[in-house]
Symmetry: D2
Subunit: 347 residues, 4 copies
């Protein structure tokens, strides 16, 4: 079987592996206070175009989300997110387990807008029994979203403006950030995120690393004492240098961006084939995730050789499906999939 | 001003006040281990037709909800509730503050169905990434609902069956229980609730008492060590006998039911007038809460003498409004309101 | 039996009962937004000598403690308290249930010192792995303490100075505050507390009220959005006016102080008898709680007519015992107890 | 500098690194549902001598502790631990952040006893206000302890018996388990732990792996739905196979035990030198951690070439110090340290 159902099926990029092997026997201090973490943080700061941001390394996405969100909220406060947001649906209530409600908003293609934030906050404050409801204090977005879609720079600016004017934090989940930044039609850079967000994270697990996410904290209030909270929530790796080594490699010679580009290119190739064959997409295919709508016969035939996720039904016979490419996707596998798809579809 | 905006504007029924005055100087043990609590519990058990249920007394509704729900859930479990459920919208995230997600379901007239429960649980179990989502373990309903509507006995049986067959607890919030049990067209009794629910509570705060809710625990697993959790959550009153004395009075000579009937009758009188004058109701008017849709002119005119709550707009000019009666509502006030309503409407 | 084992065995003072009866049928807004709460708060502010403090009313002590402490701490922060502190031993882990560790300090007669606070904070900051330990952010003391002892003004000033210089909040649990302020040898006033503490509460439950505690918030940062958190933790009483009416009565014509004086005088009478008869005290008898050390024979003989608490053994035969007086203690009962004690002891 | 201050200064054992390199490009399912995890679990079960235990893999120690403990406790329950227990002092209140109090017991050489458990539970149950205190439900021990000491099999049996007879879970933190099992004078095997504990974990982070801990769940009640809770607390690694691959290697050809032996032997060599030179130990040196008491002059001289931790002062001039060896410790480094120590001491 060739796996297209997610983007974390392989280990890590060979340059990262080499770096891990090369540094394996070195002795370093623990808990992220080593030279590799320092160097990786420095490179990320450069990439952000800001010297004044703090950079912290955590192991995984759910852990990162719950740690950042818990760090920023007082007990009566909640976090606004898209209904489809990862924290709302796929983290087993991790945010609630820290005591906070996820306040969901209806989304369009996985995205929410600055206007929705302003509206929500206005309504909250106008409600005569506002003290009986959760106070919104943070906005969580993902970029790319869970549906593989992207915010434009203007949309992010509108969200950031709304948050600033309402006194909310803006936190961006970049589990697949590289695939967003390298998308064909995006106008968003990492430096933009460092300007517009109070915190965001650069996903490593799905973009070339064995594991690891790098949190960039632009807002020092949100980031105060963050390492305590990392430790408390189990997110401070004893051998923190493993994260430093990996992100150091990822941010050397633009590796993070090069491998992200590859994934996006692979997805584009597959997307073109789906389109050529007349399949519709449930969501605009912008990054490394594609959501074509496929009839049963096609799903069954493809399912003999390839893995992908079957999601909600569309009509009697069809279903939304998810195909992912990644930094590790072999071009020959995409070509094989395209060829098989064509064969199956042209019958 | 005459207050119709809620059902907790006065103190308590005079018989309760007399009981409190009469017993004031007595010395009793603390924390609900006194003879009054024992006697009240005994009367409630009788009213439930079951000797084997545990009865606990707490001060208020939010406290009761969060204590019962926290008692019943393991960390990864959540509670299913109507979107309009009190725990979902009006308790400042009290349930989330105990670590648990409120899993909301769309409701019809404030109610959810056994079928929805079965469907939700079935989908949860069928989801290949079920471990990434919150496990449903309890169902929370309110009776009457936040919209003043009522479950039929058949609907409650269907919910209870669904819960039993899915391994979920059924918990019923009876903040306004008396007004539900005394409604004109209900076929539900307190004994039914003691059979069908794992736990429910009998609201005192809104039904004649100064304060206080009586939890009836039919399921000993859910109720295990409940007093520890009451204490931990701040719900164990030092002078617990105050709750015993009040519920003892409420369950003597059917006081709880008599005063509930009065409230329902007052609401019916007001309802008839609204209907006679051609106003529509946003929700079926079944208990002590009425939700007529009123135009601006009527709202402004009434607002000079009476309080009521203005809720969502309907069309350009109208709004859903909430009027409550209670055990304390004076018939003369209802008559005055009816007369004024007629005068204003007939212009 | 005559009850001396605690100070919450009766209902409330007759003036409070009268006020509750008199106001019972009035209609007021809910949730503490009524004129009685406003008036009581005003009187308390006057008594504090500060117009700029916020006053909130809650039902009970555990609830008050957990709500104030949760309001003030970020996730990685804890509260320093005496080992014997109520939050450390007698609230079923209520503070931990809000996510925070109680950091205990060894106490002398139930008290901790400013010096201990400075030392603890200094050590925390000097610890190379400080991020692996809980950060102290609040100090909790009770006055009188759980052992009925009192801080001097100088001791409170030292605690307050230590907290200010270390950036910690000082929170004082005054469940029995009246008995402390009316003690014979105290130099502490309520105005002092309003100057020295970031928050403190005036106990009603044990000092004349049916129930209720009044939180005085001097520090607006700690008090920000406090009503949301009260609601979330189940501490916002629907008929909040019950608390307003009671505290209004308590702070009219010095009732709170007069009835506290009575209790202290009753304790002094009993103390004198214990001393006259040669019994030792485990803790200095300063307020309404006495901890004499009594041999088995005396305990058994007294136990036939009076309740008191038997605590830790002292030697083979004796035990520390707790006797409480209260605002409600009848002088004739104290005299009877003294007479019986004399009779038993002189055998 | 040569690092002796902890046992996680290097990467991983070369066989593990080889396994990671070799499997890097393979595609596997995520979240621990791959063949490597299955194989590693199978080997661990064999090593435990029980087919009926569940094995789960997590990334780090704090995460493992908080996840297992949260899984086992209801809200009012706490976990008993030694005062020096890792969860009590070095996890930034991670357990409290899940809502539970750590109930500490005085320890002897880092250990607690079955007798202490029985006594604590007996006292809890005999306390008339037991519902006002946290209910003990789990016992947490570490083996080796934080002081590098070991339980004998008889001591573990006594703890296990006490837990069983009191209805408590026994959970053993084996962050350094290998070093304990390979100690010279131990009579405890992994199979014993699988019999005596309800859950224990096999530390990988400090024993040869890059990271990772393997939880062995003998008690199915404690382990029910454990994967949900892992996910919720951020402990379910996307590329779970990294843990499987590492533990598979560790439990192939006794690697885990061989490398542990090496560390223990290195520590013994160093211990012998300390003893030969007349230094005292603060704690019995049994495993890979040594706690010699060293005067200032020696500390300063050694500190120029070696890292170690300086702990509490002993007398005017000396301090308890911590030296760790590990699977990675080079014999030449130990020899150099011994030689330097001798040189410094013989002056």
């Amino acid at each position: 079987m060739i796996l297209f159902h997610n983007d974390y099926s392989e280990g890590c990029h060979k340059k990262i592996l080499e770096a891990l092997v090369k540094t394996n026997d070195l002795q370093t201090p623990g808990y992220g206070e080593d030279a590799f973490c320092a160097r990786a943080a420095e490179k990320i700061r450069k990439c952000c175009g800001r010297e004044d941001v703090a950079v912290h390394f955590l192991v995984g996405g759910t852990q990162t989300n719950l740690t950042v969100i818990a760090a920023g909220l007082r007990p009566h406060q909640g976090v606004l997110a898209a209904d489809s947001g990862h924290i709302n649906v796929h983290e087993t209530g991790a945010i609630e387990a820290t005591g906070h409600k996820v306040l969901w908003l209806p989304s369009v293609e996985g995205k929410i807008s600055g206007e929705q934030i302003r509206e929500y906050v206005k309504n909250h404050r106008a409600d005569p029994s506002f003290e009986h409801t959760v106070q919104p204090k943070m906005v969580y977005i993902s970029h790319p979203t869970e549906w593989g879609t992207l915010y434009s720079k203007a949309e992010l600016e509108a969200l950031s403006d709304a948050c600033k004017s309402c006194g909310l934090y803006l936190f961006l989940d970049g589990a697949r950030l590289g695939y967003g930044l390298m998308a064909e039609n995006t106008d968003v850079t990492m430096a933009d995120l460092a300007q517009l967000c109070d915190a965001f994270y650069i996903g490593g697990t799905k973009v070339g690393a064995l594991f690891g996410e790098a949190v960039v904290m632009s807002n020092p209030t949100l980031g105060e004492d963050f390492r305590y909270i990392m430790k408390q929530r189990g997110g401070m790796l004893a051998k923190g240098r493993l994260l430093g080594v990996q992100f150091d490699a990822l941010f050397t010679d633009d590796l993070y961006f090069t491998i992200s580009s590859h994934s996006v290119r692979m997805a584009a190739k597959l997307r073109a084939k789906f389109q050529e064959l007349g399949y519709c997409f449930f969501m605009s295919p912008e990054t490394n995730q594609l959501f074509p709508i496929l009839p049963k016969r096609v799903r069954e035939a493809l399912g003999e050789k390839y893995t992908f996720i079957e999601m909600d039904p569309v009509g009697e016979d069809s279903r939304v499906c998810r195909f992912c490419t990644s930094w590790a996707t072999l071009e020959e596998n995409v070509e094989a999939l395209c060829a098989d798809l064509e064969k199956i579809s042209r019958v």
